[in-house]
């Protein structure tokens, strides 16, 4: 725990020195919301027609609130994934990954410290984005139901950290982070239902979506805050699925990470990049 807090504190110190990073974090969800709105308007011919089209699928739901909540939740997921991948790659390049591995601290503790840092940074972005959006658009997102949504995010982000460990494995294995993270991010962005509810996807894609914690996070946060449909139609079932994903993804992520780290040590080590 001490090691995790030490890593967390070190990274928060760095973040404090570079507040511009938070500003850049905040821009991303705005772009994410603008993207479907602009495309929808362009396809429909006007914003009003685009809203009509949207309401054919999701009657009674404000499309802006729908996209904003999806983008805000996705920014948390994206931060968790991006932070891990870039952390590992960055440390590998500057040499600090070996320094960290030279200490007796558990790799899990170090990764937990990074997770805590990325979660803090993600929640700053989440709150910042929701607050600014709500102040401008008066969507009524800031309220007690948002607290339930945040509780869901805290539960859902745990299996996302399992996914991010697997992404870390990719980065270590293929010695590449930019393209890998971009592909994973945009893939998840599409397949997790940020732009459209996942039940409109073809069956094969829905199966893949259902295996991803990001899908359940995005869908359930919207269900809690906006009153849209839960993925399994019942909050208890959805929570059970998300709850089962926590140990499954965390175990799979940690085991894969440990396995690849061992493989690298048997080969040329983690310092080759």
């Amino acid at each position: 725990m001490r090691a995790a807090l030490a890593v967390f504190k070190a990274w928060m110190t760095i973040l404090r020195r570079y507040p511009g990073w938070l500003f850049m974090d905040l821009l991303w969800p705005f772009v994410s919301v603008a993207f479907p709105v602009v495309i929808g308007t362009a396809v429909a011919g006007s914003y009003a027609k685009a809203v009509q089209n949207f309401h054919q699928r999701l009657p009674g739901v404000d499309p802006l609130a729908f996209f904003i909540l999806g983008a805000a939740t996705m920014s948390v997921i994206s931060e968790a994934l991006w932070r891990f991948g870039t952390f590992i790659r960055w440390q590998q390049r500057v040499g600090t990954l070996e320094s960290l591995l030279l200490t007796p601290a558990d790799t899990t503790s170090i990764l937990a410290g990074i997770s805590l840092y990325s979660m803090t940074r993600a929640m700053i972005t989440f709150f910042g984005f929701i607050t600014i959006s709500d102040l401008i658009l008066h969507l009524g997102l800031l309220g007690p139901r948002l607290l339930s949504g945040i509780a869901l995010i805290f539960l859902g982000v745990l299996p996302v950290f399992g996914m991010s460990m697997m992404l870390g494995v990719f980065v270590l294995w293929f010695r590449e982070v930019g393209n890998v993270v971009s592909i994973v991010e945009w893939g998840l962005y599409t397949i997790s239902g940020v732009l459209y509810p996942v039940w409109f996807f073809p069956r094969a894609i829905r199966v893949i979506s259902a295996l991803l914690p990001s899908t359940w996070m995005v869908g359930d946060v919207r269900a809690v805050v906006l009153g849209t449909q839960y993925l399994l139609g019942n909050p208890v079932y959805d929570l059970m699925v998300l709850g089962l994903m926590v140990p499954a993804w965390l175990f799979a992520g940690r085991a894969t990470f440990g396995f690849v780290l061992g493989r690298l040590k048997r080969g040329e080590g983690v310092s080759r990049f």
């Binding site: 600090t96 070996e98 007796p104 040590k265």
Partner: protein
């Protein structure tokens, strides 16, 4: 073997360690069966050219790499089975000035790594103060690491290696990018830490460092230990009928090859010192060989002086391999 080793706390033992890199089609054998036994409280030097396998060996001893074959114990702990215990007992410096967070200050870096080694509270603060003072870097400790000069970064990296007061230190060319003054400071501190009882492994390709610091030295070449002993024992290997001759002057092209082709010349190295060229030649035979050398250099060099050289570890390496220590051997044996 393990039962014996665990009694010998802090001892370092390496047996038949091999390390293979690369794919199935292009294998490189970085270590080819290394055996070492390092006593408690020793400064043990590992001398060899670039590519000899020094860093690979150190990385195995620090658990950053796993050996392909063989066993290694550090502080009585198996590097494969007990990596965490090994890491608890060592301090290592093996990435030069890399290895610290550039966006943190020197002090913040030491705090972080101290905590990762299990230190905290007053003990951590007092260790940080002690180490900063020891290295004379307390005045710059609150600057960002990225703002330091190369030598200062090396000093902080050294500070990171000793922050937790480990009984064993593994230092991989710690003075490589330091200026003369800081390098001397590091050597003095290494001696001081050793006098406190710490076991130190010190890799270098600078002979004077190895001679000044090390109780014993292993000469590593192409992944094998080709000689081991105290500096005096190693130097005695080229006593007897062999002599080191240093020829100073303007050494022209072809001079080295001409000398190397002579009977009685075991090895030769060409270099420059103080703006003057020199040839350092190990000869077997004495004056008759010297005469042939001077004859061979006619027209190829303008000789200013000829003197008998003091035998150095560089000469030992040349005697053993026929090559200079400064030669890069990363491509493997010819």
């Amino acid at each position: 073997m393990k039962a014996v080793l665990t009694r010998d706390l802090w001892k370092i033992y390496v047996s038949k360690v091999r390390k293979l890199f690369g794919s199935k089609t292009h294998r490189v054998e970085a270590l080819r069966g290394v055996d070492l036994e390092i006593e408690n409280g020793e400064i043990y030097g590992i001398l060899g050219p670039n590519g000899a396998g020094k860093t690979t060996l150190i990385k195995i001893l620090t658990t950053l790499l796993l050996p392909t074959k063989g066993t290694a114990f550090v502080g009585g702990h198996d590097v494969v089975r007990e990596p965490k215990k090994v890491r608890s007992s060592i301090g290592a410096m093996l990435m030069g000035e890399r290895g610290l967070f550039w966006k943190l200050t020197g002090r913040e870096n030491l705090e972080l790594f101290g905590k990762l080694h299990g230190l905290g509270g007053g003990r951590l603060s007092s260790r940080i103060d002690y180490v900063l003072e020891l290295l004379g870097i307390e005045d710059i400790a609150d600057r960002l690491f990225e703002s330091y000069s190369s030598g200062q970064k090396m000093l902080f990296t050294f500070a990171r290696a000793i922050i937790h007061d480990p009984p064993i230190l593994l230092l991989d060319e710690p003075t490589a990018t330091m200026d003369v003054r800081n390098a001397r400071k590091i050597r003095e501190i290494v001696k001081e830490l050793n006098s406190e009882g710490k076991t130190i492994i010190y890799t270098t390709h600078q002979m004077h460092e190895a001679e000044e610091l090390c109780d014993r030295i292993a000469v590593l070449d192409y992944g094998r230990v080709i000689a081991e002993g105290t500096p005096a024992e190693l130097k005695s290997m080229i006593r007897g009928s062999e002599t080191v001759v240093v020829i100073r002057g303007i050494i022209g092209p072809g001079a080295l090859d001409a000398v190397l082709s002579l009977d009685g010349v075991k090895s030769a190295e060409q270099g420059e010192e103080g703006g003057e060229g020199f040839l350092r030649v190990i000869v077997e035979g004495g004056s008759e060989v010297l005469g042939s050398i001077i004859e061979a250099l006619r027209g190829r060099a303008r000789i200013h002086s000829v003197e008998q050289g003091v035998i150095t570890l560089e000469d030992v390496f040349m005697h053993l391999t026929g090559r200079s220590l400064s030669q890069d051997t990363r491509r493997g044996p010819a």
